[in-house]
Every structure is written in structure tokens, then in C-alpha cells.
Symmetry: C2
Subunit: 108 residues, 2 copies
């Protein structure tokens, strides 16, 4: 079924769930690129890159700007904040629960 994703974190996980998009992200990691500069190494058509960029832009991981006839694409580091918050929230909850459990087990 896979209900519609709602939260920001949901959309980011959904976006990063695709291997091509993660590779795109890593390409942009070494600096801004145009759409066709991304299509080459990714070995897909420029149209496919456009579609991936749309997804990544929608969830805040990438920003693009059209200058003349080329579209400049770059990463948005703040985009990772939501992901980081997701991890922190879970980690602290899970670890607290485990700690509480082991306290109980230590009872006489």
C-alpha cells in the first residue's frame, strides 16, 4: 500500500531511497553542476536528471537556478538538518528505553 508520505523527514527518506539520487547528491558534493554535467556520469538522460532534481529540490536537499540556458544545481547543506533530527530523536528514545530496561533487570 505505502501510504502517502507526509512529513518533511518522510519526503527526504523517500528521496534518498533511490540510488541514482544518492549518486547525484554525491556528484554535487564536489561542487555545482549543470543538468547535463550530471546526466553524463549518472548515465541517464537529461530528462531523468530533471525529474530527480525536482524530487530533491522539493524536499530541500538541492537548489537550482536557471542562468541563461543552463540550470546550475547545488546542494543545500541545511537540507540534512531534518534527517539529523530524525536520527537524534529515535536514538535518544531507543537508548533511554534500553537503559530503563537494564535498570529493571538490575533490580534485586
Amino acid at each position: 500500500m505505502n501510504r502517502p508520505d507526509s512529513t518533511h523527514a518522510d519526503r527526504i527518506f523517500q528521496a534518498l531511497g533511490d540510488a541514482t539520487r544518492r549518486r547525484l547528491i554525491d556528484l554535487l558534493g564536489s561542487g555545482p553542476r549543470s543538468v547535463s554535467e550530471l546526466a553524463g556520469p549518472l548515465d541517464v538522460t537529461v530528462t531523468a536528471v530533471m525529474q530527480h532534481l525536482r524530487v530533491l529540490e522539493d524536499c530541500g536537499l538541492v537548489a537550482t537556478e536557471k542562468i541563461g540556458r543552463v540550470r546550475a544545481c547545488r546542494l543545500r547543506p541545511e537540507g540534512l538538518d531534518v534527517l539529523d533530527a530524525w536520527i537524534r530523536a529515535r536514538r535518544s528514545t531507543w537508548e533511554h528505553r534500553l537503559a530503563a530496561l537494564s535498570d529493571i533487570l538490575r533490580e534485586p
Copy 2:
């Protein structure tokens, strides 16, 4: 195309890319559950839950153990470490690059 995922982080993103699996993770956040206790709230068959558990177990986010005829499922907090490392690595790289860029722009 979407080539086979190779790294551990890749498999985790792939796993968390699915909304049902994220909900499953959140259910386990409040304590261990059996397969059928998960299937109820998720509103899918036990078979579907089994398949999701397989994925989550393979990437180290969940551990399960069969006791008698019920399979006990629990989270593995360490599973998040890989994800956290992925974020940190990118964040620091991206931010350094941006810092370097703004240094250049500040040049006379």
C-alpha cells in the same frame, strides 16, 4: 536503471525509503513486538511484515529472534550509527566547501 545498492548506508536508505518500514520502526520504538502485533497496526498481512523485517534485519536496524512459535522483534539502536556517519561526512564536506567559497568571494 537504479543499480544494485552496495554500501551499508545505501541499504539503510533503501530500507527507510519505504513509509511502512518507517512506521514499523516507530512501532518498535515503544518496545519489542511479535510479527502479528506489528501487522495489526500497520494494516498489512503478517507475510508483508515478514518481508519488511527481512529488509530491516539485513541492514542492521532490527533484530529478531524466534522463541517457540513467536518471533520477537526489536530495534538495534547501533543501526543508526551508519546513517549518522553518512550525514556527518556530507555535512562537514559541504559546509567546508561553502566556507572556502565564501573566503574566495571575500578576496579583494
